[in-house]
């Protein structure tokens, strides 16, 4: 087939435009979040003392951190799926999220006596945390990976990992309402570990499915 011939076929197919990329990602983000919310409501549920907990700063900071992670990573995914686009403030926003978490850890180390550190770090629910965050990440992970396939990333592994970060941020946001460990020492250890697990899976999956 001559290149000229191919052009004819491309022009003939040019009348129908695919769904805009940004819209597909947004639908995936919203759909994935709603599905996770439903799964959480049905299968997990909030901790019994959630009303009292909501008056404590430590509890609330967990939601800020998880939401910030999901949003910053989503902004970066939206850039990564466009060839030649610069990465914008996505990387800086992710660093800010990490800094927020590190800041919370420092404050905790200052206000809590060192004899308490170990107990707060290990907490009561680390196995739950490592299981439930990935479980609650599945829906946004699948939806966003599918939407990212519609794009054209030049770094499939990286984009897959960042899709994992968005999903883990969403999963952890809901899990945080169930989790009774509110110390930043616990969050920085176990939430981070669960997030790294999902990001690692994202990198492996992205390397396979995000090629185009």
């Amino acid at each position: 087939m001559r290149t000229e011939d191919l052009l004819g076929a491309l022009v003939a197919d040019g009348g129908v435009l695919p769904t805009p990329l940004g819209r597909g990602l947004l639908v995936a983000l919203i759909g994935g979040t709603v599905a996770t919310a439903a799964l959480f409501a049905v299968a997990v549920g909030p901790r019994p003392d959630v009303v009292e907990a909501a008056r404590t700063v430590r509890f609330l900071v967990k939601f800020v951190e998880c939401a910030a992670l999901a949003i910053a990573a989503f902004v970066l995914v939206a850039r990564l799926v466009r060839p030649g686009a610069d990465r914008g403030f996505g990387p800086a926003a992710l660093i800010a999220v990490a800094a927020l978490l590190a800041g919370a850890v420092v404050v905790e180390l200052v206000v809590v006596p060192s004899t308490e550190w170990g107990r707060r770090l290990v907490g009561a629910n680390w196995m739950h945390c490592l299981g439930l965050i990935p479980l609650l990440s599945i829906a946004p992970f699948a939806a966003l990976m599918l939407a990212a396939r519609h794009g054209a990333t030049t770094s499939p592994h990286l984009t897959g990992a960042v899709v994992g970060l968005v999903s883990a941020g969403i999963g952890a946001f809901f899990y945080a309402a169930n989790c009774t460990d509110d110390s930043p020492l616990f969050v920085a250890t176990w939430y981070t570990l669960a997030t790294a697990l999902v990001a690692g899976i994202g990198a492996a999956v992205g390397g396979r499915v995000l090629r185009w």
Binding site: L10, D13, L21, P83, A85, T154, W212
Partner: protein, 188 residues
């Protein structure tokens, strides 16, 4: 208006054409693809030469790149200039093809503004990747892609010949092109 070099003015025109094409202007789309083809060819020739690969398969890169530009055109941000997007896709496809040929892949790709079009196309009787890959399509899809591309029929003429609706031909053409892109990817 700032003064522009020839290359920049040309690229600004292409950006306008792609915007029109995305708005549904098929004539602008054809103009754009026809203008891009010789430039992509020259860039591929240079890339192959630099990697020490023979230039016999350059047209395969050009065709795969055009296919990717077409299928991924919704990933271009219409508020941005077109060429950085095109260059990124071209570089990616060049690297893919060189990798398949076992060549080194750390290639810079020139700024296309400096590139002059390369007109030469290979002997049309020579078998190309795309002809071989067409064999991997379903019979109906292959028939439709050939009818429109090689035999130069319109969608309506193809629909009449195959006794299908125009909508069904459009869908099959689009799926066929997507399947071709996927087959390129699966090449060893």
């Amino acid at each position: 208006m700032p003064v522009r070099s020839g290359g920049e003015a040309r690229e600004a025109t292409w950006t306008v054409w792609m915007r029109s094409a995305i708005g549904g202007d098929q004539a602008a789309y054809r103009r754009l693809l026809e203008a891009l083809t010789p430039v992509l060819r020259q860039a591929a020739l240079r890339g192959f030469a630099r990697a020490g690969a023979g230039t016999g398969d350059v047209e395969d890169v050009v065709q795969e790149t055009l296919l990717a530009i077409h299928l991924k055109r919704h990933t271009w941000d219409t508020s941005q200039p077109l060429m950085p997007w095109v260059v990124t896709i071209a570089r990616n496809k060049l690297i893919d093809q060189l990798r398949r040929r076992g060549r080194r892949t750390d290639l810079p790709v020139d700024d296309f503004a400096e590139i002059l079009p390369a007109p030469a196309e290979r002997d049309p009787t020579e078998a190309s990747d795309i002809d071989r890959l067409l064999g991997g399509l379903g019979e109906r899809q292959r028939d439709i892609v050939r009818s429109i591309a090689v035999e130069d029929r319109s969608i309506s003429a193809t629909a009449a010949r195959l006794e299908m609706s125009e909508g069904a031909v459009r869908v099959a053409l689009h799926r066929g092109l997507k399947a071709l892109a996927a087959l390129y990817r699966r090449e060893p």
